[in-house]
Subunit: 182 residues, 2 copies
């Protein structure tokens, strides 16, 4: 594999690995978003120049009080053909497979992509296309919900880079895809 | 709830939260058991005075070269009526619900129980009976397997106590059940 745009994941999960309750609720997670968490996210965010989200994340983001992204956003969707009215200047709708999307971002001159959203992350991991993975784990078991990780055909090894613990108990671990994949 | 024997979990998982592959294989986990990991386990082990395992863990342990436990072991089983031949002095077979087992251990004078094995841990967590939880996460996604955590009817909040990172990338986090439960 030639050098290409770096694909990064930054995500919060419960201690049992869920990113949301079955109905999509993330209140249990958001309540841990203190100043330290916001600073850590901003630090991550400063290191990406493009954001890729799926339809589910887009729907979720529409519920927020304000648009949370300050970078170009690609919306991966096989059903939407164009950005919804009012979002034409915020998102570029695209329908490509993960590897093709990364090639597309590469051609467009991007260096570092934030892959956001459960299904999208799983689809990239299934093809071993995630280069950097940050998981911020909050100290609560929610018992059921939407899992971060999905089924894989092969093991994927990461190298642990750093773990930081916040005062509210978040354990934030930074991983990079291990050597062996060029 | 009155003071009782402390129920502790100490377990290794993949980055995606599995304790074993679908067929029970733990080779991917065991290869991370370096001197640091052994020392951490010994430190934990020194703090318990009784071990509780389920039938699945017992079967697994029988495959080991030597009996790994140096404390009294209770084997929770509804099918076994007595210890298998050759293990009469190693395990006490018992069939009780989690809360009743803890009361029994309390009456027997034990102070700190190591609850080991996937199904057993899930059955204790389902009744919110785990006081201390240590998860040692290795930096590999295995994609499918036997999950550490199971379904819960309520959220269970823990307080993060400490996280230690080993040189081989294991992130070992220590949690205690939050205040609010007496």
């Amino acid at each position: 594999m030639s050098a290409r745009v770096t694909a990064k994941v930054y995500v919060g999960t419960s201690l049992d690995g869920f990113i949301a309750r079955p109905d999509g609720d993330i209140g249990w997670l958001v309540c841990f978003a203190d100043a330290e968490a916001v600073a850590a996210y901003k630090e991550f965010s400063a290191g990406v120049d493009v954001i890729v989200i799926g339809r589910g994340t887009f729907e979720k983001v529409l519920e927020f009080d304000e648009w949370p992204y300050d970078k170009p956003v690609y919306l991966m969707s096989s059903t939407l053909k164009a950005a919804p009215i009012g979002y034409e200047d915020k998102v570029t709708v695209i329908c490509l497979k993960p590897a093709d999307l990364l090639s597309h971002l590469d051609s467009a001159g991007f260096k570092s992509a934030y892959i956001d959203g459960g299904k999208l992350i799983q689809s990239f991991l299934a093809e071993d296309l995630i280069d950097e993975l940050t998981v911020a784990k909050v100290p609560v078991l929610i018992g059921k919900g939407i899992p971060l990780f999905g089924s894989l055909d092969i093991d994927i090894e990461f190298a642990h880079k750093e773990t930081r613990v916040s005062s509210n108990g978040i354990v934030r671990s930074y991983y990079k895809r291990s050597a062996g994949r060029a």
